[in-house]
Amino acid sequence: MADPGQGMRVGLFATCVNDLMFPETARAATQLLRRLGCEVVFPPGQTCCGQMMTNTGYFKAALGAVKAYANAFEGCDVVVAPSGSCVASVRHQHAMLARGGGSAKLVDRVETAAAKTYDITEFLVDRLGVTDVGAFFPHRVTYHPSCHSARLARLGERPYQLLRAVRGLELLDLPDAEQCCGFGGTFSVKNPDVSVALAADKAANVVATGAEYVVAPDNACLMNIGGVLTRGRAAVKPIHLVEILAQTEEDHR
């Protein structure tokens, strides 16, 4: 396979959830990008997109993360994250937060950072021009598009294109796929009853597909859906999209 990423230097934004709780996703993103020829850097000053604070209304508390993001990725040409939700927050909320609590210079800097930020599916399909990343995953999977990835980052068909090109993979339609899983950040603990009711619907739909894995472009949704699945002793396993894309036939030998 050619190296579509040859000569590209990519800043990896791991996101706090992946860094702390799902390192295998950020590792998979690293391996995948390297396999495609990219040079991957991980600026250690990065922290989080800040949306947990932003979306709970604590704009001032989010500002530190916003500044850390702009600082950390200053030297990168592109920033890639395995999360449409965090990417959407960088794009749609950082400038608003900077306007509210920073200087005009900060607004400028966060806008520059936001303009070069991509979800990994966008980076692969739009920047590298690949949908077949040479992945192999011989399993039945179903895809949950994740609200922020679908409706805020507008990933559109990209995740499906990438999944359909994976050798051995059977993609099963998820009923009511576009429906929210009920996570909603702090909504999950502020309104746990509604959150669980929605997650239970999503989990039931996932189970009904007969898939072995439920795939999403965001681990936060998978944590919620997976939490209901394991509590109900369902056999379906949650997996981040990028972890599928990172696996090759060699890994399965």
């Binding site: 991980f42 250690p44 909320q93 805020l152 509604v194 209901v228």
Partner: protein, 477 residues
């Protein structure tokens, strides 16, 4: 109502425990949601229509004073009397006085959100005037001593067996009774309602309506409905009093072409609604001879005062946002403790009422920020952004409270943590210690409060043995 109403999470839990309600809601919202999507899909210029609607409304909002005065002049020229009301109390006393001046002791009502918002029915009853709702679903709600749970289909929480019981028990107390052998067949139920209402229409001296649109250049009021009961109220009585929010004004008659394409498709999923009534003042020998228009400001001034909040005034009350809202679909309208439930409700209600009660403070959080509402809104209200703004106001209020809130401390702590990369490295190390102590990775089951809010019905993944950044530091392989 709001002073004693429980905060949303508590009210929602009660609604969730009602399987009949959940089944009714699921059936009703999924049907209407699918119909709306179908009607949108057949419109090649849907996005242009939405953009036009948003632009027209924004033009109106930015020069509302000009258009309102234009509307007043046109209405007056056409023989209508215009009254201005700063708030709910003023509006209620104006309407009550107008009804009393006619000597009538009962009124028939067209379905109207604004008259519910200002509590007009209660005000009329206190003055000894009986208000009769004539929209079929509003009739069900009124006869059932209930409150609406949806702005368009207010009895969405009732099924036909329940409607039959309400009709049998209540119709006779306020007018023509339902036939004793009434079945729960929709045709029979509609026939009973028709007979009951017909008596009221023919007797009524005063009709009260809201208004979907008020055209500034012509002074034309527009009421959009499905049943024709509104048309009866608008044409049969001698006196017609229309209570209209100031944000309902539209600059020109031609603007209607945009909204008449968007509104029926967005609300009921129809290409065209069955009855659209338009009138400009008085026409001698045709319809009401006394026409009054009460323009109500209410909480709208509070939205106008904040430029970032103004887009909420674009709302045409179509209800597409609530039909598509996953939270609304689960709990219905009652949990919101407001006449405006769902995504637009949790933006409008705190703006109009303020954030003083636990309920009103909880409303902006009755949302997963899934953004489905923003995609269906025909006037492109950026609902998720407005919801986050309302949350910000709640956060500011909680931070200023003398009583410390756990949430304020947690968010300040998170803010500190996420300011520097090394702090996250430290947190990652701490979590990895937990991960190593636990040994094998696997799900974590029930935990004590506050973690129980997550783990009561869901597992939590165990922390990993190594954070990503620790792996990276060790050579990333």
């Amino acid at each position: 109502m709001s002073a004693i109403a429980p905060p949303f999470p508590e009210a929602a839990r009660k609604q969730l425990a009602n399987p009949q309600l959940r089944a009714n809601l699921r059936r009703a919202t999924s049907t209407i949601k699918a119909k709306r999507a179908l009607r949108q899909a057949e419109m090649a210029d849907w996005e242009e229509l939405r953009a036009a609607a948003a632009a027209i409304k924004d033009r109106m909002i930015s020069q509302m004073d000009v258009y309102l005065e234009q509307a007043e002049a046109a209405l007056t020229r056409a023989g209508a009397q215009v009254h201005w009301a700063r708030d709910a109390d003023e509006a209620n006393s104006v309407v009550t006085a107008l009804v009393q001046a006619t000597g009538a002791t009962e009124v028939v009502k067209v379905k109207s959100m604004l008259t519910q918002e200002i509590g007009l029915n209660d005000a009329l009853r206190r003055a000894g005037i009986a208000p009769f709702e004539t929209d079929l679903a509003e009739l069900i709600v009124q006869l059932g001593h209930d409150t609406p749970s949806h702005i368009l289909v207010p009895a969405i929480h009732r099924n036909r067996a329940e409607v039959r019981e309400i009709f049998l028990a209540e119709m006779g107390l306020v007018g023509r009774p339902a036939p004793p052998d009434l079945s729960s067949d929709p045709n029979d139920l509609a026939a009973a309602a028709r007979a009951h209402l017909r008596e009221k229409f023919l007797r009524a001296k005063v009709g009260i309506s809201g208004g979907n649109f008020l055209i500034a250049e012509t002074g034309t009021l527009v009421v959009v409905e499905s049943e024709g009961n509104g048309r009866m109220c608008l044409t049969l009585p001698e006196t017609l009093i229309s209570v209209v929010g100031i944000e309902k004004v539209l600059p020109t008659f031609q603007d209607l072409e945009v909204f008449m394409q968007l509104l029926p498709r967005s609300s009921t999923g129809e290409r065209m609604n069955p009855y659209t009534s338009m009138w400009s003042g008085v026409t001698p020998g045709d319809g009401p001879s006394n026409v009054h228009v009460v323009l109500v400001a209410g909480g709208r001034l509070k939205a106008l005062a904040e430029p970032a909040a103004r887009p909420m005034l674009r709302c045409i009350r179509c209800s597409a946002c609530m039909n598509t809202c996953p939270v609304y679909q689960k709990v219905g309208g009652h949990a919101y403790g407001s006449v405006y439930p769902g995504p637009i409700g949790i933006v409008l209600t705190p703006q109009f009422r303020g954030l003083d009660t636990p309920l009103d403070r909880s409303l902006p959080f009755a949302c997963t920020l899934c953004a489905a509402c923003a995609d269906v809104c025909p006037v492109k209200i950026p609902l998720p952004d407005l919801i986050v703004r309302q949350r910000h106001k709640v956060a500011v209020a909680k931070t200023a409270d003398l009583r410390p809130h756990l949430e304020v401390l947690a968010m300040a702590g998170a803010g500190w943590l996420f300011r520097r990369g090394w702090r996250l490295a430290l947190a990652g190390w701490a979590l990895s210690v937990v991960g190593r102590l636990r040994g094998a990775r696997g799900a974590i089951g029930p935990l004590p409060w506050p973690m129980s809010r997550w783990t009561r019905a869901r597992d939590l993944p165990a922390p990993p043995r190594q954070s990503f950044r620790a792996w990276w530091r060790r050579g990333s392989r």
